[in-house]
Each structure stands twice: as C-alpha cells, then as structure tokens.
C-alpha cells in the first residue's frame, strides 16, 4: 500500500455571485498517493480547475468548506504564511497557458530563482543560479545559460511550458498539480511535455493531479481517474477499468463524443442540452438527469451517492444501471441543443 499524500474530504468551494454563494466544487472527496497520477476529467464548468485552485489555496474570494489533508495537515483554511511555506515548496503547480503564466518583464532565471529564494533564504546567489541552470537542463531546455537571461516572449510555447514546469519543480515538491498543461500546445510538443512530466514523477516520487479534458492524455498519463460533472465526482476508478468499462452515463457519453475512438466518418454522440452555468447547477437529485431525459426518473437516486461497484471503482447515482444510448435516431443527435 503506497503512502497517502493528499486527502480531500467533502470539499466545497463556493463563489459569491451577487448575494448568494454557489458551489463550484460540491462535496468532493479524493486522495492522491505518492508516485501516482490522478487525472481529473471533465468539460469546462465542471469544477475541475476550481478544485485544483482550492487545493493550492489560490482562490481569493471563495468560501472553502471541508478538509484538505496534505501529509496529515489540514490546509483548507490555514494562515497565508503557513500556506506560503507549502506552496512552491511541497506543492507545485503547472498552468495551462505558459505565456500568460510567466511575468513578461522578468528574466527566466529570476522567475525560476524566485521559487528557490522563497523557500531557501540561505542559498547564495551563485548557488541559486547554478540550481536554476540545473533545472533548465533537467526540463530539457538547450543552452540554459542563454535562456537564463531571456524573457518569456523570446521563447516558443513548448520552451515556455518547460520553464513553467521548472518553476513548479524547483523545490522538488511532493505534490504536483498540472492544470491542462498541454492544452495550449501543439501535439508533438504535447507528447514531449507529457513525457517530461512522467520522467519527473518517477524522479521525485511525486504525486500528480492532472486536470484535463483530453481523454487521450488521461489514457497516457493516469493511474487513476476521477470524472467530474457539475461540481461533483461522478465516477472514480483506476485507468484501465475506466477505459474498459466506463459506467456513469456522463463518462460513457464523453467517450462516445470523441472523434478518436469513433469509427471514421460515423456520427459522434452528442450530449443533449448544455453544461449548466454555476448559478443554474441542479443541486438536487442526479445532476446529469436533465441531459439524459429518456432515462426514467425512477432510475435515479433521490440523493445520489458514490457506489463502489468493484474494488476502487465508484459510480454516482444508480442511473448507470438503466442507461443506454438512444438508438441513433437522427432527431436526437442533430438537434442536441433544444
């Protein structure tokens, strides 16, 4: 049994819109072990990024409820000073868009060096520079001495993402959160970056949370997968089980809407309706029920729970037992939007 690094318990992250709070992450529990990649999959608005930001404590004005246990310490609502000791040191984050994630007016060396400086005040300037050069080499940047003095706009997208990664791993964090790290990149660069993350994981024995919407990336990277819809986890499992026998209607719908898996030129599956906005999220019953209206109401639970269907494989609500894709009646697919 590997060591538990992070355990999130009943996390609820709510944002204030006008006078009310709306939960973007609603009662999410999950855990990450050392040397494990947990992928969190879902479409925009499902709360996956809000979840990542909550773990890193990066929400400025959100209400956080529940526990985030990092190495047996609850970091959900700790003081900024304590949090800052962990961030960048024990936990690192990789962002989606490497151009905007870097300060345009700061040299690359200073940006990576800042992460070192903040957590190791005794390191001399020269040693810090040496370390930054080492990091740049480690993430596969050619001519690190030269890049050290360059500015973000002088680098290509792939190189910038390597810099972002170098910053995140500067202090060899135990937990690395990657928020759509390859979405903004070309496919050949994507495979290089994914390889790099894999390598670093083995190197540092780190736990990784990989936020993505790309099932291909999940298949390549993840050990375990959590599928999120409307602020909740609807299915969790190890990656092999999930890809072989996905159960939740949302998971299955996602798989069927990706062109990769479908037979060429055949119709893709379209999920009816649209992802509801934060204010309009259904808070009662099965949150996905509105998008599979042909499934009888009695199939859903009143208060959908996660059920363990096989060891380590959890599915929310009972509707998966009664779910079938409607026979490809054209009407259904063509006018997905009502």
């Amino acid at each position: 049994m590997s060591e538990k690094l992070l355990e999130v318990k009943n996390l609820k992250t709510s944002f204030r819109i006008k006078d009310d709070y709306y939960a973007a992450v609603d009662d999410v529990s999950l855990s990450v072990n050392k040397n494990e990649v947990l992928a969190i999959v879902g479409e925009s608005g499902c709360g996956k990024s809000a979840l990542a930001f909550s773990i890193m404590g990066l929400h400025n004005r959100a209400k956080i409820e529940g526990n985030i246990m990092f190495k047996n310490q609850d970091i959900a609502n700790i003081s900024p000073a304590k949090l800052n000791k962990l961030r960048g040191n024990n936990m690192g984050m990789i962002f989606q868009d490497p151009l905007t994630a870097l300060n345009p007016l700061m040299e690359i060396g200073d940006q990576i060096g800042e992460a070192l400086l903040l957590h190791n005040k005794d390191l001399s300037k020269e040693k810090r520079k040496d370390k930054v050069i080492q990091l740049l080499t480690k993430v596969g940047i050619p001519r690190p001495e030269h890049v050290y003095e360059q500015f973000p706009h002088e680098l290509s997208g792939g190189m910038r993402q390597r810099v972002v990664i170098a910053t995140a791993i500067a202090n060899e964090p135990e937990l690395l959160i990657a928020d759509e790290p390859t979405t903004a990149l070309d496919v050949t660069i994507q495979s290089q970056i994914l390889d790099l993350i894999k390598e670093l994981k083995d190197d540092m024995d780190a736990g990784i949370i990989m936020i993505t919407h790309d099932l291909g990336v999940v298949a390549e990277m993840a050990d375990r997968v959590a599928v999120m819809y409307a602020g909740q986890i609807v299915e969790v499992s190890d990656v092999y089980t999930l890809f072989e026998s996905p159960l939740h209607p949302y998971t299955r719908s996602l798989f069927n809407s990706v062109p990769n898996t479908a037979e060429a030129q055949s119709k893709l599956h379209v999920i009816q309706g649209i992802v509801p906005s934060l204010q309009k999220l259904p808070r009662e019953g099965c949150r996905f029920s509105a998008r599979i209206p042909w499934v009888e109401e009695s199939a859903h639970e009143e208060h959908p729970e996660l059920h363990e269907v096989s060891p380590g494989h959890f599915v929310r609500c009972t509707c998966y037992k009664h779910f079938n894709f409607p026979d490809s009646s054209k009407e259904e697919q063509q006018h997905g939007i009502s």
Partner: protein, 320 residues
C-alpha cells in the same frame, strides 16, 4: 538599442521642420508687423516701405523662412519690440524659471499619483478607493485656472503662507542659500496647485494598470510559488504597472506646457507661460513665435523621451 534611438530621432527632424513651417506661416498671417504700430507716425509710408524692403520682409516666404530658420539655429530668435532686446535673452531668463516650475510640478505629480494610484488599485472598490476615485473625478471636472486662483486666494492671501507673485524675493544675491530657498518657496504653491489637477490622469492610469495586472495569470504563478502578498505586490504587480507610466511621461510634459500658461499668469511667476500671454496681448510677435516654437519642441522631445525610456525598460520592445 542605438538603432531604435537613431531612427526615433530621425523621425523627429521632419516633425520639427513641419512645426517650424506651421509657426512661421501663422506668424506671417498675423495682421500688421512691428513697423505698422511702433514707429514714429511722421515717417513717410515710402520710408516704411524702404525699411521693409531692407529688412527682407518683401522677399518670397521661403526666403524669409530660410532667414528665420538660419537665425533660430544660431540662437537668434529675433528682436522683441516691447523689450527692445533680443528674444533669446528674454527667453533665456524665463526658460530657467519655467524649467524649475515644471520639474517641481512633475515631482509633486508623481508624489501624489504613485501612492494614491497604488492604494486605489490594490484595494479597489474599498471606501478608500472610492474616495480617491472621487478626487480624480473632481480633478477632471475642475478647470485649472479656477483651482489655481482659489489656491492663491486661500494660501497666498487669506492664510499668507506663500508668496503671491514673483519667482524670488527681491534683494537677494543669486547663488546664496537664502536665494535658493526663496526660489523654492515661490515655486511650491504654483507647483502643487498644478500637480493636484494634472495628477488625476496619472492616478487613474496607475489604478487601472494595477487592477489589470492583479488579474494576470503570472500573479497566480507567483502565489503558487509561495510568494507572500506583499512580495506579489512589490515584485510583480507594482513593477509591471509602473512601467507603462513611462509611456505616459510624454503626455505629462505636453500637459505641463498648457498648465504653465495658466499657472504662471495667475501666480505672477515670470516664466515662459506668462511671457507667452503677455506677448500675445502686446502683439510682440517675434516673442510669441519663439515661445511657441520652444513649446512645440519641448512636446516633441517629451514624446521622444517616453519612447526611449519605454524601449529601455520594457524587454518586449527592447531592441538589442
């Protein structure tokens, strides 16, 4: 870097030539000349015509323009009809006064703008921010000449804290400590009056820059590195927000030129602005032309300066 600066300076040359032609043509279009009103009425029109001829005033405009420019380049701005002395000499005294006034105003402008803009931007939508924003709106709405008059009346006449005219107390020996202090003393009120109004642009600009920068992704990166709130502000937000102010510097100078014309007249401060208005009312055209030319060149130089500063400090447009 030098390439950019050289190109930027080369662009300035046609700007200045165009400016000088414009000023010259406007000056020529003004009714009458120095001889039409100032000379003894007993002189016969024939004699006047001869004089005009000998002064070259009947030559084609481009010849006259050439003569004028030739003189300007050598520092000869013509002769003032009012003071009966070379314009360059009159301007020489005044320009130094105006320079000090402008510098003091600039210092006050930034002394006010930077703390207010930072506070307002950092704590946006707080009560403090609302107070500062209200001040900027009032500043936008208040005409400088009225505000300056009120300041003069309150602090100069009613409270008597500051002198009400001049640039230095009479009877002091130039170069002594008292002389310098008196110079500064005379500067303060007009500079503050002007700065309080002109700074509102800068406050608003800085405020919106900070609010903009606060929401950038790299700020989140900095927090994720474990940087404290104060470090995030000092190292990332402030630096990135102050930089665009450099680009604003050129406008600042143009604004100052307009400002000095009002303020110097109201505070009776012997500078270029006061000279400018006086010369207009007395139709001392050669002085008006010279002062306009100098104001124009100052504005062009201001723009040049902000471009060069910006290219020095912003790596994205820095040219190596």
């Amino acid at each position: 870097m030098w390439k950019f600066s050289v190109r930027r300076i080369l662009i300035m040359i046609p700007q200045i030539i165009l400016l000088s032609i414009l000023i010259f043509i406007l000056a020529k279009m003004m009714p009458g000349d120095a001889l039409s009103g100032m000379v003894d009425p007993n002189v016969s029109p024939e004699r006047l015509e001869e004089l005009r001829e000998s002064l070259g005033w009947n030559d084609p405009w481009y010849v006259q323009y050439g003569d004028w420019v030739g003189g300007v380049v050598q520092g000869d701005l013509g002769q003032s009809f009012r003071f009966k002395m070379p314009v360059s000499e009159i301007v020489g005294q005044r320009i130094i006064n105006t320079f000090w006034l402008s510098l003091a105003t600039l210092i006050f402008t930034y002394l006010i703008a930077i703390p207010l803009g930072i506070t307002s931007g950092r704590y946006n939508d707080s009560l403090l921010d609302q107070a500062i924003t209200s001040y900027t709106y009032i500043g936008f709405a208040t005409p400088l000449f009225i505000f300056a008059l009120v300041m003069l009346w309150v602090f100069g006449f009613m409270l008597g804290w500051f002198p009400t005219s001049g640039s230095v107390s009479p009877g002091l020996e130039p170069g002594t400590f008292e002389y310098v202090m008196s110079k500064i003393y005379h500067l303060i009120l007009p500079a503050i009056a002007m700065a309080l109004i002109t700074t509102v642009n800068t406050v608003q600009y800085l405020r919106s820059e900070i609010i903009d920068t606060k929401q950038k992704d790299f700020i989140i990166t900095a927090r994720a590195k474990g940087a404290s709130e104060s470090r995030v502000y000092n190292r990332h937000i402030l630096r990135n927000s102050l930089l665009p102010l450099a680009a604003f510097f050129g406008f600042e100078i143009t604004g100052l030129i307009g400002g000095t014309i009002f303020v110097e007249n109201i505070f009776g401060y012997p500078g270029m602005g006061q000279l400018f208005l006086e010369s207009i009312t007395l139709r001392d055209y050669s002085v008006v032309t010279a002062v306009t030319l100098l104001f124009g060149i100052a504005a062009i130089l201001g723009a040049l300066l902000s471009d060069i500063i910006l290219s020095l400090v912003d790596p994205r447009i820095r040219i190596k």
